[in-house]
Symmetry: C2
Subunit: 336 residues, 2 copies
């Protein structure tokens, strides 16, 4: 089914068919001619060939999405948000997993640019400025998800990590805890770093001590790393009664460490997570955690990208989404 067959049936020139079929240019063509063309196209089940169109217009109506790992339950809802919004706008997604490997990120981006993607949404933790600049130089708009550049030169949508941690700390402090530890994430990942800063900030606001001994750093956002960091924390300061973990997986690691040490949660130590992953409401005890609006992150990221795709120079800067606290049973007042 080509445009020419439609033209033959409608008895007009192919160029006219193109104009009639295109929203933008429909105005240029006579009302009833347009209708005739539309009917002909309908009848033949004509579908424009986006490949051919892209060759001419340099637009593929395709956007590249880079994520570290689809298998991480954090990402699918974000992807759904992106797809829902971008799909409505007629875009198709090319999704690739990078496993946070910089080389892979690079090569995937190059490959996608070759495929003429109109823009990128990148959820990868680190993506060096160089790669970003390179992509931007190619004229492709980029929206960052879950991270941002300090200078705000690239559009980004993130959740307010500091506020999220503050919610958790306000909660445990409100419960009566005064010695609150932090199992921090990797500091070279922006979420890890920001949550750590949020911890320091909130503790200071409450005029509570946040000594170095009260914080341990996990070298990855994994259960095992969380367990290690938690053991280390308890080793160092045995009077901690609450631990704010930088994410749910670290919190689960804390559960493991407590169990190993024969400590109970929340009787001996309260624990909070971050993300509200699926099924953390079914852990024992159900995890008190900071919920991030994942689907909305995707929606907003898509929206920002569409803006940039439309206007020549869209919005840059960062959109901060507000997290909320979900109180379950891993937190309780400290025992006297």
């Amino acid at each position: 089914m080509t445009i020419r067959e439609v033209a033959r049936l409608a008895e007009v020139h192919p160029g006219t068919v193109s104009r009639a079929l295109n929203e933008q240019t429909r105005a240029l063509v006579n009302q009833e001619t347009a209708e005739r063309v539309l009917r002909a196209a309908e009848e033949l089940g004509y579908q424009p060939n986006p490949i051919a169109r892209g060759l001419k217009t340099n637009r593929s109506y395709t956007v590249g999405v880079l994520i570290p790992d689809l298998t991480n339950p954090l990402f699918p809802p974000i992807m759904r948000g992106i797809e829902d919004r971008l799909g409505d706008a007629g875009y198709t997604l090319l999704i690739v997993n990078t496993d946070n490997d910089p080389e892979r990120e690079r090569s995937q981006m190059v490959a996608m640019r070759a495929r003429q993607v109109d823009g990128f949404i990148a959820a990868t933790a680190r993506l060096d400025r160089e790669v970003l600049a390179e992509a931007a130089a190619g004229g492709a708009p980029i929206v960052l998800v879950n991270r941002s550049l300090e200078d705000g030169s690239v559009a980004a949508v993130t959740v307010d990590d500091r506020h999220g941690i503050a919610l958790a700390i306000d909660h445990v402090v409100g419960l009566g805890h005064t010695v609150v530890g932090h199992v921090a994430g990797p500091q070279n990942v922006s979420t890890g770093h920001r949550r750590y800063l949020g911890y320091l900030e909130a503790m200071a606001r409450h005029e509570l001590p946040a000594a170095a001994a009260q914080v341990t750093f996990a070298d990855a956002f994994s259960e095992a790393a969380g367990a290690r960091a938690c053991r280390e924390l308890i080793d160092r300061t045995d009077h901690v009664t609450a631990i704010v973990a930088a994410n749910d997986r670290l919190a689960i690691g804390c559960y493991d460490a407590l169990e190993e040490l024969g400590l109970g949660c929340p009787q001996d130590i309260s624990i909070t997570g971050f993300n509200d992953m699926p099924f953390v409401d079914r852990l024992h005890p159900p995890l008190t955690t900071v919920r991030v609006p994942q689907r909305e992150i995707g929606l907003v990221a898509a929206e920002l990208l569409l803006k940039q795709l439309g206007d020549q120079d869209g919005i840059v800067g960062e959109v901060l989404l507000e997290p909320t606290l979900v109180i379950r049973q891993s937190t309780a007042p400290p025992e006297r």
Copy 2:
């Protein structure tokens, strides 16, 4: 960067560049000319434009993947398997969620065909023959995942549901259970139906009763539906000591129902699931379940598709992957 710029630098005709750059046709060109072209391309950082190539060759090196819902933890590992294999082969994925809506499936498939995808991998539960036939008529190979057509006319990779259920039943029967119930999934979904058949089969093999009262049907693969079905089952036959659920989410629903009824698992009733979703090892009790090799499913599906993409007529028929039983603590011998 076009082929012409490379041609200019290498001082040859664009046609020659095309030949030199293409594995298939490299033989047609002089050894050292080819090298010169390759070097020029390298130097300019030339990337062939797949859009233009696709227009000419009618191949996009793109495959469409239809899944019900990326948010279902079952799918991401499958997707990774598909991506890993197909990515190596130079293909890019267009992934769409259909939410099991037939109309959406249809429209997405049409849209993807318009985008000239070279083939499809479909993991959607139902996909009427009509849509399949339509796509096949367009000449695009299709591989089904997690379902198959009775007549084997379409390539499919599925896990051996009947054997999986048999593993679960052999296990609980081995533990000493004789009254084993089944919380079945929706019967209009092939996995739901096959697992039900597997239950009947295995019970018969053990010469154990499998009365209608021992089976209830959930109307969806959800926790709520599982809980409903489980309550109904226990209402009807209060002497059941083990329940084999058609998947993990139904099993979790069973947990909920037992808790509500004040029954303990596994003391009062043993429960098994199917899929081995993430975190079911952290439920209370950790769930005994049938593990399906999800990533491998993706890998094999990709492999089958590549076969069809290569040869003109590849393999059809069904590949059955073997599940394994993961024994945890939701199953125990019945109390006397």
